[in-house]
Every structure is written in structure tokens, then in C-alpha cells.
């Protein structure tokens, strides 16, 4: 007898599984095996509790399509992760020519290489557009107000990190455009107040744009920032589930007292 009980999804009756006929001995061995394996894990981790908490929490009345922008951003991030892993299988951060050569190889030789590179490149634009739209939504809906202030702050950090991803990634193909644009970009950074010069030195791995700069950008682009980004997205989503998403600001709850009187 499975211990795992999820509440029945609120589907139309027709779609819900029928109860067994009394006296029927038909069993589904495959389904039973699956459920008992899940049970085994659940008995030791109580993961189903978390899943239930996440999936069956109620979403306030009036929630509309604008509320899909956050998860769309998340999806774009996942797409970047997957395509990025494939690119990393071929990419070499070698400023002496290996980097450019490896990107050329990906683009011209590898099966579907240009397609995956294109997905990664345009995916970054899509993610930036979506993150700005998501931010605009939370701004105009006043969703950053009590009790979601911290989630806004985490969100701004996510925005900065996303822009930093694009900045560090732009150098990696190591063609003329990316090389010179990044030099100018790092120089612009260097004019910033207080930390500006230090940040530039850190990015360049020294006072001059040199051979180690590319390797440093690569490490930042594929290890440092994605790690922080993933952790912060986790915190962001935890707070979303814990606090609940806002209802659109113009939606009012039905008065429970009036409702009872009517009933």
C-alpha cells in the first residue's frame, strides 16, 4: 500500500482516474513498482512534502499572463546552461589563437555547432529582455513592497549578474569585435568611482589586457557567475513560494462575510 498520497488535482471528473471496481484483482505492476521506489526515497527524505508545498500552494485570484515572465526568465537561464555546457565541450580559452580557432571549429565543423552557438547567443538577448520585462512587471504591480522587499533586492542582484554574464561572454569568441569592445568596456569600468580601477585590474588579470585575461573571463563566465546566479535564483524562488506571488493590485478579495450571507 503506497504511503505517498498527493491530493487529487482539480481536474474535471472525466479526467480523474476511476476508482477500482470492488473485487477487482487487476494490478498495474509497473505503476506499483514506480510508486514503491518513490516511497522508498520519500520515507528517507520527505521530499514529497516539499513538492506538495511547492506545487499545490494556492495562487491568488486574478493572476494573469504577466506572472509567467519570471518563470520564462528561468527557462531562458536553463536553456543558456544547457547550450553553454555543449559549447564548453569544444571551447578552449587560449588567447594565442586557440580560442578563435575552437569557436571557428564549433561554427563550421561541429554537428549543429552553429545552431547551438546561435541559441546561446540569441538566448542571452532573450533572457535580458525577459528579465527586464519581469522587473517592469514587479515594479508596476508594486510587488516589491512589504513583505517582498528582500525578493526585490535579490532580483536586482540577479539583474546585475545577468548583465555581467553577457559582458564576460562577449569576449570569448575572441574576434575583432569582441576583443575591442571588451577593451573599451573594461576601460569604462576602470573610470568608475572607488572600486572601478580595482575591478578593471581584476578583470584584466593585471594592468594590461593580456594572455591570462581570456582565461579569467572564461572562468568568471562559466563557473563563478553561474554558480552565484543559480544559488540566488534558488533563494528567489524559495521566497516566491514562501510568501506567495502578489495578486494584481486592482484585484479585491470577495468579502467572506457577504459571501456567507449570500450562501
Amino acid at each position: 500500500m503506497p504511503k505517498l498520497k498527493l491530493p487529487a488535482p482539480p481536474l474535471p471528473d472525466r479526467l480523474n482516474p476511476r476508482p477500482k471496481r470492488p473485487g477487482s484483482t487487476k494490478t498495474k505492476p509497473l505503476a506499483e513498482a514506480g510508486i514503491s521506489a518513490i516511497d522508498w526515497v520519500d520515507e528517507r527524505t520527505s521530499l514529497s512534502q516539499g513538492a506538495r508545498w511547492m506545487m499545490f500552494r494556492k495562487i491568488p485570484k486574478g493572476t494573469n499572463w504577466f506572472y509567467t515572465l519570471g518563470s520564462a526568465t528561468l527557462f531562458a537561464f536553463l536553456s543558456q546552461t544547457v547550450t553553454g555546457v555543449f559549447l564548453a565541450m569544444y571551447y578552449r580559452p587560449d588567447a594565442a589563437g586557440g580560442a578563435y580557432e575552437s569557436v571557428r571549429y564549433i561554427t563550421n565543423e561541429v554537428f549543429l555547432g552553429e545552431f547551438v552557438r546561435g541559441m546561446h547567443k540569441w538566448g542571452s538577448s532573450v533572457m535580458v529582455i525577459l528579465i527586464f520585462l519581469h522587473m517592469a512587471r514587479t515594479f508596476f504591480f508594486g510587488a516589491y513592497k512589504y513583505p517582498r522587499e528582500l525578493n526585490w533586492v535579490i532580483g536586482v542582484a540577479l539583474l546585475v549578474l545577468t548583465m555581467a554574464m553577457s559582458f564576460t561572454g562577449y569576449l570569448l569568441p575572441f574576434d575583432q569585435r569582441s576583443y575591442w569592445a571588451t577593451i573599451v568596456g573594461v576601460n569604462i569600468n576602470g573610470t568608475g568611482p572607488f572600486v572601478g580601477p580595482y575591478l578593471s585590474d581584476f578583470l584584466r588579470a593585471g594592468p594590461e589586457f593580456g594572455a591570462t585575461t581570456l582565461a579569467r573571463f572564461y572562468a568568471i563566465h562559466m563557473l563563478l557567475i553561474p554558480g552565484i546566479l543559480a544559488a540566488l535564483i534558488g533563494a528567489h524562488l524559495y521566497l516566491v513560494a514562501k510568501l506567495g506571488t502578489t495578486a494584481p493590485p486592482w484585484i479585491k478579495a470577495d468579502d467572506p462575510v457577504q459571501k456567507e450571507e449570500k450562501a
Partner: protein
């Protein structure tokens, strides 16, 4: 927000939540539909637009356009608007830093409990203004381009001198035109007016030596052309000669 307003909000929110629908399957279905749209857009763009790879990076070379990814255009355009040299640091990181701090602290200085956009005129107006400004700057950046041509007439006294001087001048004009200087400088009718000063009559402001020094050791954000000087001194000299004749 004071304690009473907080409690009021939480009570109202609890009711709204009670009257809402479960995340699964309603929101999951919407989010899934959106994910499909996102995926299809990315695939479509990858198929139609592809992923180009320009010529290999070369610190000494001359044909490049220092253009960032399009969503950084607005920052670059900001540089052009705030031009005086002593204000450049302010424009480059100063304004973005201030904007970032304002953005981070938004929930702490906007303590108005009202959430409807039409009843928060200041916040809504500021938001719309930011969107329009960023959109406009991005548009400017996208249409600015990075010209690689200088149409300035060769001055008559140089034509009259002829010989090596004329040759150096013409070579220099080409090198400058192809070195991306026009992304930041204006030469006569060509190039962008900023972030750097117009160079149409640079020689009346700077002696030749100083021009060469600026190219080797410039103030940020201008990139250094030290590598060009080290590897292809003729080109570098031609560039300096050309600039030192612009009066």
C-alpha cells in the same frame, strides 16, 4: 507601512489566496506555454540569424568596431551625452552606479502602501520615463553605427607639398578611418560626436607629440594603441601625421 497597514495587507492577501487556484496545474500550464514560446523564439532566432564569427582578434590591427552587445548600447550612448572630460567618470560608472543603488534600495525608500500604478503617479512616471529613455538611447546606439570612412578634403597646402607628406597624410587618414576611432570621435562630417571630443581640428589644440602620447597612453575609455606603435610603427606614424595636420 505601519503595523496596521501590514496586517491589513496580509489579511487581504490571505483571502485572495484562498479564493485563488492551485499552482499545479493552472500556473504550471501557463508557465509551460510561455516556456514553449521562449524556446521557439530562441530556436527561430538561432536558425534565421545564425552565429557569425568576425575576423580573429588582433591587438595591432585596424579594422574593428568597438561595439558592445545591443543591450549595452544605452550605456554607451549615455557616455556621448555627458561629454565634458571631467564629467566622463560620472557618466561611465557614476550614473549607472547611482541607478543601481536606487534600484537596490527601492523598497526601502518607497514606503507607500498603495500598489495600484495609477495611484502611485511618481513611481509610475519614473518607471515609464526610464523605459522610454532606455529605449531611445538603445535606438540611438543601434542607428549610430561605426563608420569606417573619412570624407575630409585633403588641405591644399598638403596637396601642394606632395611627396611623402601627402602619402603619409592619405595613409594616416585610412588608418584612422579603419581603426574604430569614429565610434567615439567626429572627423568633419563623419563619426560619432562622443564620448571623445571631435578631432576635426585637433592639431590646433594638441601638438604632434601630445597626440602620439594620447594614443599610446590615453585616458579611459579610449583604448591604447601601444600595440600598433610597437608592431607597425609606419602606420602609427602616419596616423599621428594625419592628426597633426587637422587644423
Amino acid at each position: 507601512m505601519n503595523q496596521r497597514e501590514k496586517e491589513e495587507y496580509l489579511r487581504e492577501f490571505a483571502l485572495l489566496k484562498q479564493q485563488g487556484k492551485p499552482f499545479f496545474p493552472y500556473s504550471v500550464a501557463k508557465d509551460g506555454a510561455m516556456a514553449v514560446i521562449v524556446m521557439l523564439s530562441i530556436i527561430l532566432m538561432a536558425l534565421v540569424l545564425g552565429a557569425e564569427l568576425g575576423p580573429k582578434a588582433d591587438p595591432t590591427t585596424t579594422t574593428y568596431s568597438p561595439r558592445p552587445e545591443w543591450y549595452y548600447f544605452f550605456l554607451f550612448e549615455l557616455l556621448k551625452i555627458i561629454k565634458p572630460a571631467n564629467l566622463v567618470p560620472l557618466a561611465t560608472i557614476g550614473v549607472p552606479t547611482i541607478c543601481m543603488i536606487l534600484l537596490f534600495l527601492l523598497p526601502f525608500y518607497d514606503r507607500n502602501p498603495e500598489r495600484r500604478p495609477e495611484r502611485r503617479p511618481v513611481a509610475t512616471a519614473a518607471g515609464i520615463f526610464t523605459i522610454i529613455a532606455m529605449g531611445y538611447l538603445t535606438y540611438l546606439g543601434a542607428s549610430a553605427g561605426s563608420p569606417t570612412q573619412i570624407d575630409m578634403e585633403t588641405p591644399p597646402q598638403i596637396v601642394a607639398q606632395g611627396g611623402p607628406m601627402l602619402e603619409q597624410f592619405e595613409t594616416g587618414k585610412q588608418v584612422v578611418a579603419q581603426s574604430g576611432c569614429e565610434a567615439c570621435h567626429k572627423f568633419g562630417e563623419n563619426g560619432n560626436d562622443g564620448p571623445g571630443p571631435p578631432l576635426t581640428d585637433i592639431a590646433s589644440r594638441l601638438p604632434k607629440q601630445a597626440i602620439a602620447r594620447t594614443l599610446i597612453n590615453p585616458t579611459a575609455p579610449m583604448p591604447s594603441f601601444k600595440a600598433l606603435q610597437a608592431n607597425e610603427p609606419e602606420k602609427f606614424d602616419a596616423m599621428v601625421t594625419f592628426l597633426s595636420q587637422l587644423k
